[in-house]
Homo-oligomer: 136 residues x 6
């Protein structure tokens, strides 16, 4: 089993805010991330496929195809968008890095399986000092 | 003359939008950056002071003081904020990286001169592939 | 299960030296790392928490709380210190990256569990080309 | 169990080409990577050893010895070489990152075991956006 | 005056070889870079434009236009190519990073001036430890 | 004129301490950097040579020769050393990054000129957030 990872990039705005809480509680829990006028990040998205290298190519999966698929399925929907307002697959969810990584996994998985490949891992880097990882 | 640089980090939302233009012209010129619901970045801010090392310390300037000053004067005003809506020193300006770097220079300069030091250079990294530089 | 990682930074001096060996044996085994007058590193410390996102926040753990906890429990004790001389939790230990990572794990674990969270992983980057990892 | 990783660097040329296919099929599958006159990369090779720290050194393995061994066994054979033409252990293989990582694992393993250590993991970074991982 | 930089990436093969010299002299001067079967690099290309921000956009130059132009004029010609064999604008030149940076400058300059902008600086990173810079 | 830069790495211990001051004043001015038992850094040293590419090689200077020269003249003297105690060319100087960069310049310059080349610039990165630059 070999693991192939492709990294893609996008920029987005979001805020962390629980509408069922008071403004005070939101600031107490989410701090500056609760700013009502939004903030944003340069996200780095790592997507890992696992499998055995194909005898005719040496590839677990075609890295260019993987990049195109991530761009089409994820980046097109989130790049230069507001995660809370503009992204259908985040509707009704808190836009924490954790929830966002799970949602990206759920979006990507059927597309990768349709290509006959196995999704192994998602890493989402939100800032140089914070990232989340998800294995399904 | 020696040059001392301190790097600080912040996250912010913004959009590039000229209100005197049509939506179409905004999208034509600014592309995805004109998204009405904002997008955002992890900014890296480089601030360079120049001078001769002081004979009693070997310092051109105290790097910790410089970091504290950048945090107090700039980061506190822009971190986890909306550059178009929340930042007094960007009011009425397009929030391009170029304009933002010039405005940061103008904010920082008097504070650095009050400490008896010379501001030499600002670098503002907006994405891993785009940055601007300003020497006043 | 989602994994949340926070990265913190510190600088420290240390040396690798076995007092029960001759100077020659120390140099043979530890090379330049045995320099009696110390050397030092910029360490990057990665701390990973695992869990399910909380339904009211979307957080596995609050990343700011995690950063504050790492700073209070670890960084305050090791930053700009001598690992062999100044750090109580390294007393009597060789200050290899391996031992240091295990000791950091043991220091952090009760504090993280007191917050109701699960410590999953420590990564300690000692130089750009050397790092160690520990899962308890 | 602690994991120690050493990172080494090399540059090489290669192409992805299946001689049993037509030129058209090669370009369809491998795209620009099939360029008959080669292309190349700066590779970063991560090698991870696992074990318990030795009580007399605090080391799982000597990181300098590990670096020397990677340089002698791998880097000397591949640095500034053509992976398809010049590297005996890649003879007759497609030089995909996947196959290359497996071949590096097979080259390194006996040398690391001869030193009484356990090879745990290979990571081979081919471009800033593509890497593969192998655990044997 | 503000400086705007865009970074683009490509991979290429090359060798350093003076055909008017003996094999021995080539190896003496160019070392492993003279390998007859080529080696290669992941190049990072930094292109800097200078000017005043335009009052209607805040831009010195549109960073997306700049990226598209670098990709069209340079990356399309050199990515996944052999610099000695496949690149018309390097014909008859030693493919040192120095010569390559000058040639990239000469290719880019008229295209950037046609857009009414001023090319200020080229940086070409050949390996993590070697780069060249050119100001025309 | 083209500029060629080579980056080399070393680790060292040091402290910032003015012996003619009280302990209190040292802590007030140098903060944690005055820790009597030292701290340390992973330093990155950038050395830039300027000149015209030689018509027979395309080189401003041989990058391997430059790396060897930096290693011989600087890295051998400072790597895994205590800058205050072990380094002859820092004797009697405060080991600030500023003073250290000037001293490195003065050490390197005659060796580079003996090779017929022009030293243009030194950059010394002390931490990921602090660096100094010197042009002589």
């Amino acid at each position: 089993m070999v693991y192939l990872t492709r990294v893609e990039h996008f920029n987005a705005a979001h805020k962390l805010y629980n509408e069922s809480w008071s403004e005070e509680k939101n600031i107490e829990v989410f701090g500056k991330c609760a700013n009502p006028n939004w903030h944003g990040h340069n996200y780095e998205l790592f997507v890992t496929i696992k499998g055995e290298p194909h005898p005719e190519t040496g590839f677990v999966f075609n890295a260019k195809t993987l990049g195109d698929l991530i761009k089409e399925v994820i980046v097109e929907q989130v790049d230069h968008r507001n995660l809370n307002m503009d992204v259908p697959f985040m509707k009704g969810k808190f836009t924490s890095a954790e929830n966002f990584a799970i949602a990206i996994w759920n979006e990507l998985k059927p597309h990768i399986e349709k290509e006959g490949a196995l999704l192994h891992y998602i890493k989402l880097q939100e800032t140089p000092r914070i990232y989340v990882e998800y294995y399904g």
